[in-house]
Amino acid sequence: MALKRYVVGCFDDEAVLFPAVKKVRNAGYKIQDVYTPFPVHGLDHALGMRETSLHTAGFIYGITGTITAVSCMGWVFTKDWPMNIGGKPNFALPAFIPIIFELTVLFAAVGMVMTFCYLCQLAPFVKHHHFHPRATDDLFVMVIECTDRTNVEDLKGFLQSSGAVEVNYQVAESGWWFGRYDKEQKLYAEENAAIG
């Protein structure tokens, strides 16, 4: 995994962060990520991220659960072990509904959480590079990836002028989870972007 260079700007207020994100993107810099202590609504749109499709995954897992429940119970009670229970039909759909529902929920929930952990690369003993220890406390940490043409000092000054309370330069190893989702990142779609 390659070492990458980053310029890190820390903000202490989301009201300062939003205009800064806009300015930085307008200036043509590529924001790697913004680390925040709590979900800041609208930040994903401001960064040009696409919507997550975790919902769709959840739906597919749920359907899988439904099909599993119907087919397993149907097979057991009609083919493998047909039993006369109070004269009810072997395939007694109304009596199956509770278990069908429970398995739908179970599959959807377990599947979604596992997918979430996989996509975000979250697991015990996984180590990610932390750009600032206070990112989980009270700082909004904007991480900008440097290219060959980036002037680090300029960028630092630029971040400071946008309201960053702390600016530094870090070299970090980029795990494969880095930058996967921002490949399709669209450039900030606003006319007459002021450079600098």
Binding site: D33, V34, F38, G42, E51, P98
Partner: protein, 479 residues
């Protein structure tokens, strides 16, 4: 200024003029500090209760459940009463975290973490009772349908008792996942503040390497919302299915269609009471009065008076149907075994009526809803009442069945039945004490999220705006 506008009539969700760092300090300090003497006393008492329970259960395994006072007529006694009671308590957590999330009730942020933990521990306690009531507990895995060498013999998918197995195990799993997914960011906060090596390691492992990336938050939000959407019907289904255990039988007093909504309302009622019991202690001991405010306690008391009244309506409906159905057995159960105070178990019916229906009505008064000591007292009364309810339903319906020759004499539990119940209290409180010590009892990230819209500082700022004349406001804000 924030986009979300909240009415000034609503009181702040977080008292005191705090910034983000102060919130982290307040909520994570209890984890880093040494526990108080009170914590040690409580913890050791709980462990002692747990050990007594373990010994009682050990005897159940060695001597069989013949050491309980159950018999052929009263086949379900304290064990199933306690099972339903604990499951009911386990409903408030998911209700608070899921249903109130969908209803956009901001006050849930202060109480959801502890309530979810309570749910998980209560369901753990509940599960013990049916498992040990099976008698030969080493055969417990037979309740799951898996290919086996016994035929294969399958379980009966048409039976509500099996639905229960699926409902409770699903409920436990989903609650646990929901709780832990919400914990990840807060455990990361603890990890990043940790001074000692051990704490860094343990919370590092527990927080799964959470960084707070925007993309992760986006997925996290989606996950919470969908899990809440799934947990909402789930929480209603669980107690519905528990009530099917009774309602699908032909025992007078059980065989009613009113059971599912009535059980769910009762579960929410007792669950909120238990949340009150725990949180009133927690906010005092951990000094969290700014986060679990009087407003939170009042909101929960409103839920208690609402669900208590629903339960009361259900009791009266049952009595009415006992008379209106003109069924001799129903009439006997409701008007002799239950409502007649002179009958052997009449005391339990009227105890239930008083604790669940009459006493919560005091919460129509705002002064009493906001009285912490009184709320604590009432929460215990409600939980006693809800225990009586399950006892009434189970024992008074069973002890005089269709055949007078098999009527049972008075049933009272043996010390080992009581010991089992005490043991689950031990398990519950041991887990809760450990949780309060080692985990953030309040969702730190969620509090930070509502801080700027509903904190006291924001309210004061908005007060100024509210009092401004329109011309001044326009002058200040127009471009």
């Amino acid at each position: 200024m924030h986009l979300k506008y909240e009415s000034q009539i609503r009181e702040p969700l977080v008292d005191g003029n705090k910034d983000y760092h102060q919130v982290t300090e307040d909520l994570i300090r209890p984890i880093e500090a040494k526990p108080s003497t009170l914590w040690y006393i409580g913890f050791y008492v709980s462990v002692a209760m747990l050990l007594f329970g373990v010994y009682s259960v050990y005897r159940d395994i060695v001597y069989g459940i013949g050491q309980w006072n159950l018999n052929k007529t009263i086949g379900w006694g304290w064990d199933i009463t306690n099972f339903v009671w604990w499951v009911g308590i386990g409903h408030a957590g998911t209700l608070i975290s899921a249903v109130l999330l969908l209803f956009r009730q901001g006050w849930r942020t202060g109480v959801n973490r502890a309530a979810e933990a309570m749910t998980i521990f209560a369901v753990m306690c509940a599960g013990q009772f049916p498992i040990f009531h099976m008698g030969r507990v080493w055969l417990a895995p037979f309740i799951f349908p898996y290919p086996n060498t016994r035929g294969p013999v399958w379980v009966n998918f048409d039976s509500p008792l099996l639905w229960d197995v699926f409902a409770i195990s699903t409920y436990f799993t989903v609650s646990l996942l929901f709780w832990y997914a919400g914990l990840l960011p807060d455990l990361a906060s603890v990890r990043d503040r940790a001074k000692t090596k051990l704490r860094k390691l343990l919370y590092g492992v527990a927080s799964f390497g959470w960084t707070g990336s925007t993309k992760h938050w986006q997925r996290h939000e989606a996950l919470s919302l969908v899990l809440a959407g799934l947990a909402t019907p789930l929480v209603l289904s669980v107690h519905t299915i528990v009530s099917f255990d009774f309602a699908t039988s032909v025992i007078p007093g059980w065989h009613t269609t009113i059971f599912p909504p009535y059980f769910v309302a009762g579960a929410i009622f007792s669950g909120f009471a238990m949340v009150q019991t725990l949180l009133i202690v927690v906010r005092k001991v951990l000094n969290l009065q700014d986060y679990i405010t009087l407003g939170h306690i009042e909101a929960m008391n409103k839920v208690i008076v609402l669900t208590g009244s629903i339960v009361g309506c259900a009791y009266l409906t049952e009595l009415f149907m006992g008379w209106y159905s003109m069924n001799a057995y129903e009439g006997y159960t409701f008007f002799y075994s239950r409502a007649n105070i002179m009958s052997p178990y009449g005391w339990s019916y009227w105890g239930m009526m008083f604790c669940n229906v009459v006493s919560p009505q005091v919460f129509w008064f705002r002064k009493l809803r906001r009285n912490v000591a009184f709320t604590f007292f009432m929460s215990i009364i409600v939980n006693i009442g809800m225990w009586f309810e399950r006892f009434v339903i189970i024992v008074t319906s069973l002890y005089r069945d269709y055949l007078p020759s098999s009527w049972s004499p008075y049933y009272s539990p043996t010390i080992w039945e009581i010991g089992f119940y005490v043991g689950t209290f031990g398990l519950f409180f041991t887990c809760f004490f450990l949780f309060a010590k080692y985990f953030p009892t309040i969702a730190v990230a969620e509090i930070k999220y509502v801080l700027k819209t509903s904190g006291e500082a924001q309210k004061q700022e908005m007060n100024k705006v509210e009092n401004q004349k329109v011309e001044e406001f326009v002058h200040e804000h127009a471009h």
